[in-house]
């Protein structure tokens, strides 16, 4: 379990600096140091189990359906990286405490840095590929925040964006690769994947998997040609660069390659891709490092070059090469972190990183010079520093390799050239900064405080010590890591500075001499380089981003011109295309069930509906005519329900039709009376085409479905209705019992719609025509006598009918919805006949309250079943003997239905009466106008 806390310490600890606030820098630095030191301590608790030959693991199930577990492991490889991350991280925190300017938001900086550390630690400890990927992306985000930390600088913003785009594009490819691996192996657990190397290599999708995984790893580890983001990432504060270049971010890529070597390695595809890309990166980085003027620029290109070296070694794939790669990961992390720290110090003390403005600092800054010279020597691969060991191993591994066949000698030569170049740029850096003539106009400088120097000096000392005592300091760790990668094939490392005269040594000597010449002749070489146009990948990238932005803008403007009609047309065409594609795959339109015969009534009904629909569409500019045509269709729909055995639907449709017509009539009053101007014929034709196509597809779809047998769950409802729901009207039983929760949702929507209209009508400025479009005033007789009388007579009758329909609803067609609508219509008639004020006085009901109480009743019925230990909305029923009426079956669902009834009445009247009120209260009468 301590493994989990090892990971959580920096992740959760990233909040610590924020909580500590900005009291003072020393205090904050100490707070930020707690998480990594704690994590190191916890790590050491897990260590004995690993050293005893075990594999410490933590496994917590997280999202098993996705194959994602919170699974961690600590093997040798994880240990190597974890020590680098936490150790270097701690030193960098100490360093950053001195580096950051007094006024900078340092708490935020430390929080990001700890998050970055935690994410990287997550990558190396993950025992699940999906989890690894999650942390992988988290490092991308954290580095984005850190690179862009000085967000006021345009370079920082651009650099951050570029690194995010490149590495997270790679991250997406990696995700695809991981998912493919998961499909092939059947598990995403690291143990399973590493054991399934045979299966993966034999799979037909192996090349695709390798391509995707390598794309992800190369983008992260800045391999050519995806390297270009790394030099721009140096816009970050220097402590970030030190961390990013040594233990985190770019090392994630090579970590992944090493991690997956047992699963994906050992094929010529893997070996050649890695070694060729690695070789190209090695040379490219070394060459351009020679011509950089910026101190951090040299270091950035040198990082690219060294990452290429590690990739090349992993590609060579021999046991020795892999061990050498791991050793170099360690070595590079140490000297590169030290070098970035010294670059930061120089920048901090002199205010510049430009080699042409620096020089002769050895006298003024002796300690900085010592630190830098030691680390530079390690970078150049000079004895007795650690870089020398890995360089010798690289040369030996290249010489041994059979991978390139007849080209082996050429490759060795190229590797030697890279070694030469690295000596060259290292010399140039060291000499350029510390020796030669300084600029006289520069003010005198001096070494920074001891504690700012200490982390760098410690690292430089480590470089030297590892060089001197490799078997004690480096070999055990590297052997452990190598065992995690190649198991029993791990070679017995024999690390020493002096192996006697050998070919690698000879090449080294030549490389050092050549590097000396290259450093001396650098100006001449630079002139040759200047003959070629330098293509900065950044401009290509920026141009690409601008092009993409323009393209998406163009597309957006094409699709989104602000016209809702355009959107609707596009939406419909897409739907038609999708449905059409589906239809095209059906063999025949007419299915196996065949068709039923026609009769006269049906044809008549259909003709009526088509007449109404087409008429309504044709007369759309004359709204009243259009509305009347619509009502023809609505009533015919009700008749259709009658014909095809749906009495409940017919009743509902009929009553809704009445209510809707009243509503739309009322609406006409508030909308313009004049027909709108005629739009272009082209437009009409376009709309006819779109609508016609949709109609055709819908008709075909409906016909195809109607003539086919479909699976139905009707039997369940028909069988269970009486025994389970206590009612014979299956439709009603479904509504109030089986699917009661749906109905509950629906009356909620209904009530909400009512309340929303209430709000919409509030404080509305009204168009108040006093007459029609010809200037004729509205009728003087607002409330015709006959209607008033009839409405009054009808009211009790209608209420009685609705009560009857409500009560019988459980067994016969009817129920809460229909009864509610009938009641609503009856009450509406009173408002129509007598006006709002008259009715209001006699019927002082608050309709929102009615609707809400209906909802409350339905909820209470549902909750009541909890009291009896049943799930929400469980119903029960029993038989009761009532005087006069006889035996009555009462189900608890009846109460729920009463809730439905009240909600329907309340919501309907809320909408209509409120709208009606607006017309009657404010309507200017003729008397007023005269």
């Amino acid at each position: 379990m301590s493994l989990l806390w090892t990971l959580l310490a920096p992740v959760a600890g990233s909040l610590l600096p924020l909580a500590a606030g900005r009291r003072n820098r020393r205090w904050l630095t100490l707070t930020a140091l707690i998480p990594p030191l704690l994590a190191l301590l916890l790590l050491s608790l897990t260590l004995p189990e690993l050293l005893a030959g075990g594999l410490p693991r933590v496994q917590l199930s997280w999202m098993p359906a996705l194959g994602l577990d919170l699974a961690l492991r600590l093997d040798g490889l994880s240990l190597l990286f974890a020590l680098l991350i936490l150790g270097l991280g701690s030193l960098i925190i100490v360093y950053a405490g001195h580096y950051l300017h007094r006024d900078e938001p340092d708490a935020r900086f430390f929080a990001y840095l700890l998050l970055f550390m935690g994410a990287m630690l997550g990558i190396v400890l993950s025992d699940n590929l999906l989890l690894l990927w999650l942390f992988w992306e988290l490092t991308g985000l954290a580095s984005f925040l850190l690179i862009g930390f000085w967000s006021r600088l345009s370079d920082a913003r651009r650099g951050a964006r570029m690194s995010l785009v490149v590495t997270s594009t790679g991250g997406l490819a990696l995700l695809a690769g991981i998912l493919l691996i998961g499909q092939e192996v059947g598990s995403l657990a690291l143990g399973d994947v590493l054991a399934a190397g045979e299966t993966l290599r034999a799979s037909s999708r192996y090349p695709l998997i390798v391509a995707l995984v390598l794309f992800g790893a190369f983008a992260k580890s800045a391999q050519f040609p995806l390297h270009f983001w790394l030099p721009h990432a140096m816009a970050a504060p220097t402590p970030v660069s030190a961390f990013l270049h040594s233990a985190t971010m770019v090392k994630a890529g090579v970590f992944l390659l090493a991690r997956l070597t047992p699963a994906l390695g050992d094929t010529s595809l893997w070996a050649l891709s890695l070694s060729l890309i690695g070789l190209a990166t090695l040379l490219y980085g070394a060459w351009f490092a020679l011509f950089e003027r910026d101190l951090k620029g040299i270091l950035a290109f040198s990082t690219i070059s060294h990452l290429g070296l590690i990739t090349l070694l992993l590609g060579l794939g021999s046991p020795l090469a892999i061990a050498a790669a791991l050793l170099h990961i360690l070595n590079h992390a140490l000297f590169k972190a030290a070098l970035f720290m010294s670059a930061g110090i120089i920048d901090h003390q002199t205010g510049t990183r430009d080699l042409q403005r620096l020089g002769g600092l050895a006298r003024a800054m002796p300690l900085t010079a010592t630190l830098t010279l030691m680390a530079t020597a390690a970078m150049a691969g000079l004895p007795p520093f650690n870089g020398f060991l890995s360089k010798e191993l690289l040369l030996a591994a290249t010489l041994d390799s059979r991978l390139f066949g007849g080209l082996g000698a050429a490759v060795t030569l190229l590797v030697g050239l890279a070694a030469l170049l690295s000596v060259g740029y290292s010399l140039r850096l060291a000499v350029g900064v510390f020796f030669g003539a300084g600029r006289p106009d520069e003010p005198a400088t001096h070494d920074p405080s001891r504690s700012m120097l200490a982390p760098g000096l410690l690292l430089a000392a480590l470089c030297l010590l590892i060089g001197l005592l490799p078997m004690t300091l480096a070999a055990p760790l590297v052997t452990l890591a190598s065992r995690a990668v190649q198991g029993s094939a791990t070679p017995t490392l024999d690390l020493a500075l002096w192996h006697g005269p050998s070919l690698p040594l000879a090449i080294s000597v030549v490389a050092v001499l050549g590097g000396l010449v290259a450093a001396l002749r650098q100006p001449q070489l630079a002139r040759i380089v200047a003959l070629f146009p330098r293509r900065d990948a950044r401009w290509l990238f920026e141009a690409g981003v601008i092009r993409l932005t323009k393209a998406s803008l163009w597309l957006t403007l094409r699709l989104e011109n602000g016209s809702l009609q355009r959107y609707l047309a596009l939406l419909l065409l897409t739907a038609v295309a999708m449905a059409g594609l589906g239809l095209a795959q059906v063999e025949r339109l007419t299915g196996e069930r065949g068709v039923q015969p026609l009769d006269g009534m049906l044809v008549l009904g259909a003709a009526l509906m088509v007449f109404g629909a087409v008429g309504s569409a044709l007369s759309h500019r004359w709204r009243l005519v259009s509305l009347l045509m619509l009502s023809v269709v609505g009533l015919s729909v009700a008749l259709t329900f009658v014909r095809f055995s749906a009495p409940d639907l017919a009743m509902t449709q009929l009553s809704v039709e009445v209510v809707s017509m009243i509503l739309l009539m009322l609406a006409l009053f508030f909308l313009p009376q004049r027909p709108p101007p005629w739009v272009s014929t082209r437009r009409i034709l376009r709309d006819l085409l779109v609508a016609g196509l949709c109609g055709l597809v819908v008709a075909s779809l409906n016909y195809a479905l109607l003539t086919r047998e479909t699976l139905s769950i009707a039997d369940f409802f028909l069988r269970e209705s009486v025994p389970g729901g206590g009612g014979g009207n299956v439709v009603n039983v479904i509504l109030v019992d089986f699917r009661g929760f749906d109905t509950f949702g629906e009356i909620t929507v209904l009530t909400l719609a009512g309340l929303a209209t209430y709000k919409l009508l509030n404080r509305m400025k009204l168009f108040m025509p006093a007459g029609n479009v010809e200037g004729i005033h509205w009728s003087r007789h607002r409330h015709p006598l006959i209607l008033a009388v009839i409405a009054q007579i009808l009211l009790p009758l209608a209420l009685l009918v609705s009560a009857y329909i409500f009560l019988r609803g459980h067994n016969q067609p009817g129920g809460g919805f229909i009864a509610g609508l009938i009641t609503a219509v009856a009450l509406l008639l009173q408002y129509l006949a007598r006006g709002y004020d008259w009715t209001r006085q006699r019927l002082p009901l608050s309709y929102p309250l009615v609707a809400v109480s209906g909802l409350a009743l339905a909820t209470a019925t549902g909750l009541a079943s909890w009291l009896f230990g049943y799930p929400f909305l469980t119903s029960t029923f029993g038989h009761f003997q009532l005087p006069l009426i006889g035996e009555l079956e009462l189900a608890s669902a009846l109460l729920f239905d009463l809730g439905v009834y009240l909600a329907v009445v309340g919501a309907t009247l809320m909408i209509l009466v409120n709208l009606g009120r607006v017309t009657t209260v404010h309507r200017p009468s003729i008397e007023e106008e005269n």
């Binding site: 602000g562 016209s563 009609q565 419909l572 068709v595 039923q596 259909a606 509906m609 629909a613 569409a617 759309h620 259009s626 509305l627 619509l630 609505g634 329900f641 055995s645 749906a646 009495p647 409940d648 639907l649 449709q653 809704v656 809707s660 609406a667 508030f670 909308l671 313009p672 609508a691 949709c694 109609g695 055709l696 819908v698 008709a699 075909s700 409906n702 016909y703 109607l706 139905s712 009707a714 028909l718 014979g728 299956v730 439709v731 479904i734 509504l735 749906d742 209904l750 719609a753 919409l760 009508l761 509305m764 400025k765 009204l766 168009f767 108040m768 067994n811 919805f817 609508l821 909408i911």
Partner: protein, 113 residues
């Protein structure tokens, strides 16, 4: 009969969509209502087109599928709520913008005082 039914549903859909593509609010509302008729009929027909087969226990020997009917019943009521909301939204939009164009284009009518 199936062809006739499907044809009617298709016609209702086409007319409804044509109206919904108009630029003024009222035809759009009428179109929406027409379209919901079509959708309700479509859904309803998924239970099969049976005569004398109301899904009431004891009424008929082979009752038709009650589930589409229950779904359509609530769909009708919800459809009404939706229409009501859109109608009042249209009224409000006219009052705020001074016209009844769906895109809220300014200016073919005097705003109210």
């Amino acid at each position: 009969m199936e062809a006739l039914f499907a044809g009617v549903v298709g016609t209702l859909t086409a007319c409804g969509l044509f109206l919904m593509l108009r630029g003024r609010t009222f035809p759009v509302i009428v179109g929406l209502t027409l379209l919901s008729y079509a959708v309700n009929l479509f859904l309803f027909s998924m239970g099969g087109l049976n005569t004398h087969a109301a899904p009431v226990i004891g009424e008929s020997l082979s009752p038709s599928d009650p589930l589409p009917q229950a779904l359509v019943l609530t769909a009708i009521v919800i459809g009404f709520a939706m229409t009501a909301f859109v109608v009042i939204l249209a009224i409000r939009a006219r009052s705020e913008l001074g016209n009844d164009h769906v895109d809220g284009k300014q200016g073919d009518e005097e705003p109210p005082r």
